[in-house]
């Protein structure tokens, strides 16, 4: 993790935090109501985590915020940004990141090429991302031959080169070993330190407690609580949240 701290000092990005406003968002897919009139606001750049039991709508909410799902009703706004503007400011890391059938390095350069970066930008940003995520030695390896942790680090490197204002992570450390979990958590902290608004979903309450300052608790597609992390763990308001915490 030495590289991370060094790079962090070298790259000070001026990114504006975009306040998030979710207003009565509902999502219906294949006649199934995945999200039910969810409303909340985020006014400060804290790491926000979305928690809840399986099927509570965590991934659906992340994808709706990211713009992958078209809302059935309601609205989501990010400051004064238009939908087209915001699309270019976001990146998402999926639970099982889909890597292209090419080398590690080519997976990173791909995202820079489709966003029309110059050759020198592509070279510099790729090398920076490879070093930052400690996958420099793997750069010529085929992406599909990587281990789970390495794949997730590559997915983070791919998001990192985009220098997003907003980063979504869907259970980023599921099924990973403790050292990989630690490395990925450090990368997330590092991204947030660069003024990236991080929103992630997780089942791992230790991780939620470690990383996030604010929590959105979902149950059966409904927002049950949106509160400070500390308050959620010490004195959750709803019975559903209390029983969720007791079973973990």
């Amino acid at each position: 993790m030495k590289n991370i701290n060094k790079k962090e000092n070298n790259t000070k990005h001026q990114k504006n935090f975009l306040p998030l406003s979710v207003n009565k968002v509902s999502l219906i897919i294949n006649e199934k109501k995945l999200l039910k009139e969810i409303s909340f606001n985020v006014k400060k750049n804290n790491i926000l985590s979305i928690v809840g039991p399986n099927g509570s709508g965590k991934t659906s909410l992340l994808k709706a915020l990211h713009g992958i799902y078209k809302l059935s009703s309601g609205s989501i706004s990010w400051g004064d940004c238009s939908i087209n503007e915001i699309k270019k400011m976001q990146a998402m890391i999926f639970q099982n990141p889909l890597l292209l059938k090419r080398s590690v390095k080519d997976n990173i350069t791909y995202v820079l090429k489709i966003r029309n970066n110059t050759k020198s930008e592509i070279l510099n940003k790729t090398n920076e991302a490879l070093n930052l995520c400690n996958i420099n030695e793997l750069q010529n390896q085929q992406a599909h031959t990587l281990s789970g942790g390495e794949k997730q680090k590559l997915a983070i490197a791919r998001a990192w080169v985009l220098d997003p204002n907003i980063l979504f992570l869907d259970e980023p450390t599921l099924n990973l070993d403790p050292p990989s979990v630690y490395e990925i958590e450090e990368l997330i902290i590092n991204m947030h330190a660069k003024n990236t608004f991080v929103i992630f979903s997780s089942h791992d309450l230790r991780q939620v407690r470690k990383l996030s300052k604010e929590i959105v608790f979902l149950y059966d597609g409904k927002l049950i609580e949106k509160t400070k992390s500390k308050k959620f763990f010490e004195s959750a308001e709803s019975d559903l949240a209390k029983s969720f915490l007791q079973t973990r």
Partner: protein, 232 residues
Amino acid sequence: MSFLSDAIVSAVYLIANLDRDLIEIISLSLTITLSATLFASVIGIILGSAVALYNFPGRNVFTLLINTFMGFPPVVLGLFVYLLLSRSGPLGMLGLLYTPTAMIIAQTLLILPIIIALTRQTIFEVNKEYNEQLRSLGAEKFQIMKTLIWESRLTVMTIILAGYGRANAEVGAVMIVGGNINHATRVMTTTIAHETSKGNLILALSLGIILILIAFFINFAMQKIESISEQR
């Protein structure tokens, strides 16, 4: 058994002596088949991918028609191209009938539906897997299309081979629009048909063996390309 061995000996003899007529027929066959495969591949891969990814009115009808045309009888297609290119046809002024160009057109039209239909199916399936991730990375629709074609390159190569195989084996359409004119439009398949009707079965069979050998080497080369591509 001796008939078959005679044919093999005859084929080896023809190749070893670099028979001028044979070389002419083989090179014309390859030129026509490979050109048709190239044209149909370029058009078919782009069109098939676009049908898989873009929504437009009549997409389902188009898909149904393309799937139907996959089994279009070559002789009927040859007849359509003949009517188009004949003197009294709409493209008669081009004077293409009984030329290799007419044969390329017929073969291109014959294999185009195969390449469109199989590419559409492949890209449609791959898109289900990749779409969210690629959109999330910021790829636009055309970039997604290019990426999906590249990601399914091994399957696409197999589709091209299927198209080549169909063109390579074709005789009916090229016979009608090419006329099987000696030293002009005579290709391997039409020569085999011609020699068989003349009772020259050994020459016909030896040409058949050469035809299969060519198909084998082309497939072998593709397989090598595939394995290199897989390792990269």
